[in-house]
């Protein structure tokens, strides 16, 4: 057709607030959807102030935000392109979500090689943040299962990236926070399953030594993760539940999951999250498991994605939003560092209930800027309290740096340029692969370029 349609004409939709999962910070941006692989870089025509591809916006801080810029939302670019049931190799456009991949894969007897804590993230986002799951010791991170993808740069160059072709761009893009270009499609190696079931065990523990003993005893188990209580002191300091599971070997029905029906209805008022309610939650959670050791077969949904059952649960933290603190520490300092940092958190009285402790194995990540390192990983959500939360985050960030660890960019809203450069000393090498037209509020913050656009 010779005439342009409304779609083909540059859209003029204006700036509007865009939220990440933590709902802090929130910046105005113009959203331009990518519907087709060929939409980028043409979509950049006429824009000012930089652009950034974004998927589901499930990272917590500002890694998926661009203040006063253009966000290229990829979620309509979600086609399946090929699947080989002999090898489990799936090719799909980058805006497909892991939930959509599971809907396709599970009835065919396949599963994600690495599952994060939510299935509502895109394939492109999973690569760009090189996400990890409960099987890091055995499987490494997400990028280890992505043999190749296509990267399109703002100058129109199409690059096939794999460990052999354009290996430097392959490494820079895995964990590259969307800054190296737009991933149009990617391949993912799925793994076979025979059942939706997970052979699950939950074991109560007290203190880090018991945690490390359990870790050692169950190192043959694929998935392990621990919930820990960051509120209790004294003899209950660092009590928790060590949760482990393997895909069930007994063949079971491989139906697709039903869609979640619960939505967290309102923004909870700030007073609902206080020491008393959180303490009560932690005690209930610890004793929910009545026996010190339970064994059962659980569906994969509650095992991998317990919070996905309630859509928009981040509203629980109210209007102000939440901060997540997530570190990995190397083995040399992991135990001493974890005790020191948890003591600082417990003493602050600011902890909430969603605290996770696990270990990272030594499968090397393929990404230049990947987060995992062999040792201990810990993650905790904090409600935002004026004048208290931010100084605490600074102290915790400094402690992480002094123990030789690093924070996770995908969860961060607080790290300083000095901290970032200590966590990721390779950042200048990475910057050489950055696409000049793409940037993020995170990148501008941690490289000290705020306001340069």
């Amino acid at each position: 057709m010779a005439h342009p349609t409304a779609t083909e004409e540059a859209t003029t939709s204006g700036l509007a607030p865009f939220e990440s999962w933590g709902r802090y910070p929130t910046y105005n941006a113009t959203v331009r959807p990518l519907h087709w692989q060929g939409d980028f870089p043409g979509v950049l025509e006429g824009i000012h102030g930089g652009a950034l591809a974004v998927g589901m916006g499930r990272s917590y801080g500002d890694v998926c935000l661009l203040k006063e810029g253009t966000l290229l939302q990829t979620t309509s670019m979600n086609r399946l392109l090929a699947f080989d049931p002999a090898t489990g190799l799936l090719t799909a456009e980058a805006g497909i979500t892991l939930a959509q991949i599971l809907d396709f894969a599970v009835p065919r007897g396949f599963f994600l090689p690495v599952s994060p804590g939510t299935k509502y993230v895109t394939l492109g986002g999973a690569i760009a943040n090189d996400i990890h799951g409960k099987n890091h010791e055995m499987a490494g991170s997400f990028g280890n299962h992505v043999p190749q993808f296509e990267l399109v740069r703002s100058n129109g160059t199409h690059m096939l990236c794999s460990p052999r072709e354009n290996p430097d761009y392959y490494a820079a893009t895995i964990g590259g926070m969307g800054l190296t270009g737009v991933i149009t499609w990617a391949q993912l190696r799925l793994k076979p399953i025979v059942s939706r079931g997970i052979d699950y065990e939950g074991i109560q523990f007290h203190g880090i030594d018991e945690f490390l003993d359990l870790k050692e005893r169950y190192k043959h188990v694929e998935y392990t993760v621990s919930w820990i209580d960051c509120v209790s002191r004294g003899k209950n300091f660092m009590r928790g539940i060590f949760m482990l599971g393997d895909h069930s070997k007994d063949p079971g029905e491989l139906k697709t999951s039903s869609k979640p029906k619960l939505v967290f209805p309102i923004e909870a008022p700030g007073f609902m999250l206080n020491r008393a309610t959180i303490s009560a939650f932690n005690t209930v959670f610890f004793h929910k498991q009545l026996k010190p050791h339970v064994k059962t077969v659980q569906d994969y949904e509650p095992f991998f994605y317990p919070l996905d059952a309630v859509l928009k649960w981040n509203r629980m933290y109210g209007k102000a939003g939440l901060l997540q603190f997530q570190y990995s520490l190397p083995w040399e300092t992991a135990k001493e560092g974890t005790i020191a940092i948890l003591r600082e958190i417990t003493n602050s009285g600011l902890a909430s209930f969603l605290a996770v402790l696990k270990t990272f194995g030594d499968v090397p990540s393929l990404g230049m800027m990947s987060f995992p390192m062999p040792g201990i990983m810990f993650a905790l959500d904090f409600p935002i309290k004026e004048n208290v939360s931010f100084p605490l985050m600074q102290r915790l960030g400094d402690m992480t740096r002094d123990f030789g660890g690093r924070l996770y960019s995908a969860k961060d809203a607080c790290m300083t340029p000095d901290q970032f450069k200590a966590f990721y000393p390779q950042w200048e090498r990475f910057a050489r692969y950055k696409d000049p037209a793409l940037t993020s509020s995170f990148w501008e913050r941690v490289t000290g370029q705020e306001g340069d656009r």
Binding site: H3, T7, E9, G38, R79, L80
Partner: protein, 273 residues
Amino acid sequence: MSTSANPEPTLPTRRNTDPSAKAEPVIGPKRILVLGATSGIAEACIRLWAERGDSLYLVARNADKLAAVAADARTRGASYVNFAVVDLDKTASHPEMLAHAINSLAGLDIAYLALGILGEQPRAERNFDEAAAILHTNFVAPVSLLTWLSNYCAQRHAGTLAVLSSVAGDRGRKSNYIYGSSKAGLSAFLAGLRNRIDREGVKVITIKPGPVKTAMTQSMKGSEKFADVDKVAATIVKAIDKGQDELYVPGIWRIIMGVIQVIPERIFKKLNL
């Protein structure tokens, strides 16, 4: 605009069964021709048909987009997928394209017409070429396709012609009356066609979507509140299976348009709709 006599060529058949045999319920995968296959609503329907193993022949004008839609359909499990890159504005090419498609599918159970453009109303108010282009793509081209297809189906006493019209065709409004009139013409054509060939055993289905969240509508005001395309597609696929004559989707639009249609013209002409 080219005019075409739409002659129906004789079709060589690759099936063992006689395609002109009396209509009987189709067992197994359906043979579906999708015209305008890269439209958002069409693509969502294609995914559902592919997942249940139907055979698909897809037509659209952009080769890259069409290849991606076809790859998706194949991966999801369509029994057969083929496609043709064709500019459906060129009505002269319709008979050959349709004959080829039906050969390729070895028959036809459903033809789904989703071609259409929103156009630019303000421009079309001043520029006849813009208005004519909207009318051509949304009305003239479908009439050309349906003329050929209705005769093919009527002769065989079988088949379903499912066509995307719009609630915008139910009453002209100042914000989109060029698009609306193209769809009004299409709805009237379909009503007449149904009246003519329903008795021949051919189903004609008029689909009237309200605003749906797709690439076509992304620049419209309030588009984030539009209907979810996957839910709309599921409703359409079900209505086609049932052979429903007319479908408003989401269903609330039957009521909304019912109200809009009964407003007296002396009041209506003063409203800002």
